[in-house]
């Protein structure tokens, strides 16, 4: 039995087992909207969701709270359309007709299985050995993010399959492979057109192919135009125009290192794929082609406020690129022995995240407030701010500055260098160093995590809230665009660890407010927009902040000395 067949069978079994675990809670994010479109196609033979929203309690989404998304297209006669492209809902129709919601998800899982087979074949085509495929493929296809997107209704896994098939087709010069793959990719989501556009120079060799390529790009635009009245749907071409450079830096490091949404914490295997860029010349051609194809897509993603994926499982927007990074990781693993030093921690972390996501599927969705699941868990346990030790580019913190430097240092010390073929004994020596350094780092992590920090974000998990409410509320659309905070009124109090000293308090209030910090009263003026004031914490340790009268939105408190 070939390796591809073995992994295909394993994928069928694993995805079939994981799928029911993800149905413990109702589908979330964009999923119910895709399903509504499928329902509409099946029952009404149209894309108008107005009747679905009117009778939302009787749909299969299990989400009676569902309302149209902000900016969804509407028709002249009250038609209500979804902003999402209809190809994925169309693909889910047979599955939905057979088994309802589980059938629709099973359709995506089927694409996951196809992706597994396609990936193994692609790796073999690119000269990756069987031993390396055996070692890494379980981490790739049964680890985050592919595992989580293979058992949920998102276009990412079908798109990843189409992207791999398109690259394979181009590499093999098989038009019958790349034409349908690329066409399906673009139909799935308009944003994937940015991938297709970059592949065009590799496929347009004559007029016939140019015509095919033009049709591939035009048809999806036409479909979207017919539905929404705009060829770019809810997007504008201005989104492609370069903006402030700092946003690119934030997005780039965020995708790599953010505690809640970065590769390092959510799918660490792919860090090897990033290191592979340093070995560009020795990387397989498929990797280089995939990387070039991803360029515009990544460049347009980086400055977006939603680079982290929004209300979805982590790494949403780059799932489609994961096969390329996986190939880079595999090539690096094969070429440079010392890269294997990282495998043991990667295996533990990857399957830890996978098991956590299987057991607690709702935790895959995060409110993007700058914390992450691990930080919140530890902060709740110790009532101390552990989240500040994780780099956050959603709510930039000091760790976000330290993390790139630490990673750079780690890479310079341990990462495989160009053309290096170290001896096995030397590789083993390095392997011994990695866990011990990790142990020292962890000991320091837990030590400093238990100490008070210099910034207190009042909505965070380490703060004990006695009354008050989260601002904005948890399910606010595009919550990450807001400055999070904690709303308090007279009689409410907060308790947190803090160092002695002066702090700058960031707050908003529509009326004058009196607060009390460890027995000292502070009179704050009304501040309809955010304002700052100086407050003082008299002793290091647990501090109680009380709102004596009025109501206030407390954002954060930064130490000055």
């Amino acid at each position: 039995m070939s390796l591809a067949t073995r992994f295909t069978i394993a994928a069928v079994v694993v995805y079939a087992l994981v799928l029911p675990t993800q149905l413990q809670t109702p589908i979330d994010g964009d999923e119910p909207f895709y399903l509504l479109v499928t329902e509409s196609i099946v029952h009404d033979h149209d894309l108008d969701l107005a009747n679905q929203y009117r009778d939302i309690a009787h749909t299969d989404t299990g989400r009676p709270d569902l309302v149209p998304q902000l900016g969804d297209p509407t028709g002249p006669h009250g038609e209500q359309y979804s902003r999402h492209e209809p190809f994925l809902p169309l693909v889910m129709v047979p599955g939905y007709m057979l088994f309802g919601l589980p059938g629709a998800i099973a359709t995506i899982a089927l694409f996951g299985v196809l992706l597994v087979r396609s990936l193994v074949r692609w790796f073999e085509d690119e000269g990756i050995s069987d031993a390396t495929i055996r070692a890494l493929m379980p981490l790739i296809v049964f680890g985050p993010p592919i595992l989580f997107y293979a058992v949920r209704i998102w276009p990412e896994v079908p798109a990843a399959f189409c992207f791999v098939e398109a690259i394979r087709g181009i590499r093999q010069r098989r038009a019958q492979r790349w034409i349908p793959a690329l066409f399906a990719l673009v139909l799935l989501k308009l944003r994937f057109m940015l991938l297709a556009v970059m592949l065009l120079p590799f496929i347009v060799r004559d007029r016939k192919r140019a015509a095919i390529a033009a049709a591939m790009l035009a048809i999806p635009l036409l479909v979207v135009w017919l539905i929404s009245g705009s060829a770019t749907n809810v997007h504008t071409l201005r989104e492609l125009v370069p903006v402030a450079p700092m946003l690119y830096v934030k997005g780039l490091f965020g995708l790599m290192l953010d505690g809640a949404a970065g590769i390092a914490f959510q799918a660490p295997l792919y860090l090897l794929g990033i290191v592979a860029f340093a070995h560009w010349r020795s990387m397989p051609e498929g990797f280089r082609l995939g990387a070039i194809a991803s360029l515009i897509y990544v460049l347009t993603l980086l400055p977006r406020a939603e680079w982290h994926g929004g209300w979805s499982p982590p790494l949403r927007y780059i799932v489609v690129l994961m096969p390329v990074l996986a190939l880079g990781a595999a090539a690096l693993y094969e070429q440079v022995r010392s890269a294997r030093a990282w495998l043991a921690p990667i295996v533990i972390w990857t399957f830890g995240i996978a098991l956590h996501g299987i057991a607690r599927p709702w935790s895959l969705f995060h409110i993007a407030n700058g914390e992450n699941n691990v930080g919140e868990y530890l902060s709740t346990l110790y009532h101390s701010d552990f989240s500040r030790l994780f780099p956050s580019y959603i709510r930039p913190n000091f760790a976000a500055i330290v993390a790139p430097l630490a990673v750079l240092l780690a890479l310079l010390t341990f990462a495989p260098r160009g053309g290096e073929k170290v001896a096995l004994s030397e590789a083993k020596g390095r392997m011994r160093g990695v866990p011990i350094l990790a142990a020292i780092a962890l000991a320091l992590f837990f030590h400093f995590g238990k100490l008070p920090g210099d910034r207190i974000e009042f909505e965070d998990a380490h703060v004990t809230h006695n009354g008050g409410t989260l601002y904005p509320y948890e399910y606010q659309v595009a919550r990450f665009l807001y400055r999070g905070g904690w709303m308090m009124k007279g009689g409410d109090s907060l308790s947190f660890l803090a160092k002695r000293g002066s702090y700058v308090l960031f707050y908003a209030s529509t009326e004058p407010v009196v607060i009390d910090i460890s027995g000292r009263a502070f009179h704050l003026d009304a501040a309809p927009t955010y304002a700052v004031t100086l407050v003082y914490v008299p002793v290091t340790g647990r501090v109680t902040l009380r709102c004596l009268n009025g109501s206030i939105n407390l954002d954060r408190m930064d130490r000055r000395e």
């Binding site: 495998l343 043991a344 921690p345 533990i348 868990y377 530890l378 346990l381 004994s425 083993k428 020596g429 392997m431 011994r432 160093g433 866990p435 011990i436 990790a438 142990a439 020292i440 962890l442 000991a443 837990f446 030590h447």
Partner: protein, 335 residues
Amino acid sequence: MPDKRTLLIAIGAAIAAAIACFFAVAFGTPIDRALPFLAVVIVALSVWRPWVAIGVPLLIVAENVFFDEPTRLLAIAIVVALAFVSQFPSPRSRGEGPGARGPAFITLLAILILRWIPFTNVVIWRELIILTGAVAVAYVMNGVNFAVLLALYAPAWPIKIAIVLFALAILAAFRLKRIRWNAPAFALLLVFFPWSGIVARGWRAFVHPPRQGQRLELRYALKPGTTMTIDVPEHAEALIVSGANTQKLPCNTILGWMNGRPVIASDWGFMRREQFFASRNCYPCDPAGKIRDYGWSAWIDGATRIPLPYGVKSIRIAVNPQLPKNALLQIEAFE
């Protein structure tokens, strides 16, 4: 044997790991405090398989993320057990593997973990005898399972028994060389090392664990022949009793009667390592004791639960007059 350079790196790594673990200790049990020692053991095991050293950061994580004591200690034990099991030769290797090069060394480390934590409870000369015997068995057999099994169950009191046991085992070992390395069995021996004393002396606790409900303490100790009447509080469902100085009495000896029904209980401390071998008591049918101490010193007190008759307002306890003079029936609590 590893080369000199590898050995030096391993020593440096062991020191660093021990220091990191020392500062990572978050709780006060002897197992938590032994974290630096466990780290050194894992580094020692990583000499042949360097990835095993990943156990050191895992120890720190287990120590700091689980507040519930049994969960935390079990997590630590699982990490240690996996580090040991990784030394076993794989079935395909035909007996070759890192562990195959040093069964005596692995046995030594395993016994230190099973019997020498907490170190303050160790009677060194007794434990050294057992350690030497086990290492000798492992050396002769070129395997670890039998040696560690013997060491786990060998009594340190009386030590003569252990000496005889190991002398016989060493002789038998020459003929038992065919016993293969068995990773699951070895993992099972090690995975409960925070309570290895209970594995050795009260394994039934894993099948029929003791439980405690809300209790109203009484704390009476009645001599043979005495009687006593006690009012039963509302909602009480059981009486918790145990014996004192009764460890030499055979199983199912009647210590007294409650409203005419026989009261059968074990000695409160019969599972202590010093008393167990000489005791003739049995693990209680309805155990109500608590797990006490850690490692090979761990034991469960012999408290037994006697159900109260339904709706009874008072009970009359009569202690068996035929018990030894120094024996006592302890009425511990209502539950």
